[in-house]
Symmetry: C2
Subunit: 251 residues, 2 copies
């Protein structure tokens, strides 16, 4: 089983104080960009993998989703999520995304925010997601950007010429990276950008859109420190679709 | 017109001394990886954009291509290319890739190696290439990797902890980068990885494979210094196809 850092008491306490935990979707700087990738949710059956506090699940219902299935490995987060709604069209299930079995052809949209980079067996989960989508169904997700996850020592540093730079090394060495984000020893899986794309294509998805997220001018005006995120994108957003027919491109 | 650095005398002299100029395809470290992306060339009509000395054009004929059209902006390079073959199935044409007009539905494969990052109007050229391919035709190309082209000051440096790192900044700021590669003041266009992918998708291509190139274990064993290229990929290789039918993914 993957490290379940979200049930670590220190991590959970720190996580609960993040803007995105308190304010929900609006507290996540990449949300406006992710939002524009989403299809119209009316009458959609939605799956949220790594649903956390359930902010997206509840929002999807306000957008007209007919049902929402939230899945998370963290018992604490699911308890909090369940306490925030009485909506019977939202179901929360505890499962490890490395091992989850999803029902076939059951969802119009699979959504997952900043969860895939914790998983070691992403190919297995992508195959599960593909199978669980109806033909024409969408997969929209965000992960930490590979430039962000690659370094041995992530963090801004000064170049010999006095420039603030992001020190990239080990980009092509995929695998675990241990960081001290919110708590010591948090393990994330670094993958190259092309691995994300090729895993999707190999699974049968068609790629619709990629975005290396950076702050908008308005976001920088409101929070000038955000400008540095344009030097090195923190997030990668991807929109893919299970094709209507299995039209694998001829080799 | 794009800067035609290849007809600059100093640049041309330095370029002519590169391993890839003297030894051709086998002198280019990324060639084995690019090679595996190519379809079987038998009876294929091949287009090589930025053909240089024509190494790929001649090789394509040995692989059974029925005809090869090489295009380059550099008069010097085309003269050299023409002097190296008597094969009437190979045609060389001088044209600026920013302005070239390609004949419709005339090629089975469009190939271009390390040329796109000199162009300012890549969207225009991609539309020309798409139109010039038959349905099912392939586009295979390499460019300098966006992590490689992004920095204000490209070059390995030492981090405060003594690590050799590649100092990334300005990744999301697309546009010209001036470097002193072979000659002072060579201008390349930095684009993000997602811009390359989204331009292809917007043009109508389907994406088949992406590769962020790094040296193989055998290549590192033969040239140990190459190992650092795994810290920051120098090349991006992409395989795309003009779909058999125009099956644009529904919005």
């Amino acid at each position: 089983m993957t490290q379940n850092i979200y049930d670590d008491a220190a991590f959970f306490t720190a996580y609960a104080r993040l803007e995105r935990s308190i304010e929900g979707l609006e507290g996540a700087i990449e949300w406006p960009a992710l939002h524009t990738l989403l299809p119209d949710l009316k009458e959609h059956r939605v799956l949220d993998l790594g649903c956390g506090y359930g902010w997206f699940c509840r929002w999807a219902r306000t957008e007209g989703a007919s049902s929402v299935q939230g899945i998370d490995v963290s018992e604490r987060m699911l308890e909090r999520a369940a306490s925030m709604t009485n909506d019977t069209a939202i179901t929360y299930t505890r499962a490890d995304l490395e091992q989850v079995e999803l029902p076939p052809a059951s969802f119009d949209l699979a959504y997952t925010s900043l969860a895939f980079h914790y998983l070691t067996k992403l190919d297995r989960l992508l195959a599960q997601i593909y199978r669980s989508l109806v033909p024409g169904g969408h997969l929209i997700f965000s992960v930490e950007h590979p430039i962000y996850t690659a370094p041995s020592h992530p963090g801004w540093s000064l170049s010999p010429t006095g420039q603030q730079v992001w020190p990239v090394d080990r980009y092509l060495e995929e695998g675990p990276r241990t960081t001290d984000w919110l708590a010591p020893g948090v393990i994330k899986q670094h993958r190259t950008l092309t691995t994300y794309v090729n895993l999707l294509l190999q699974t049968g998805f068609h790629l619709r859109h990629l975005e290396e997220w950076g702050p908008s001018d308005a976001q920088i005006a409101a929070s000038p420190l955000l400008a540095q995120e344009r030097d090195r994108p923190p997030f990668l957003l991807i929109s893919a679709v299970r094709p209507e027919e299995a039209t694998h491109v001829a080799e």
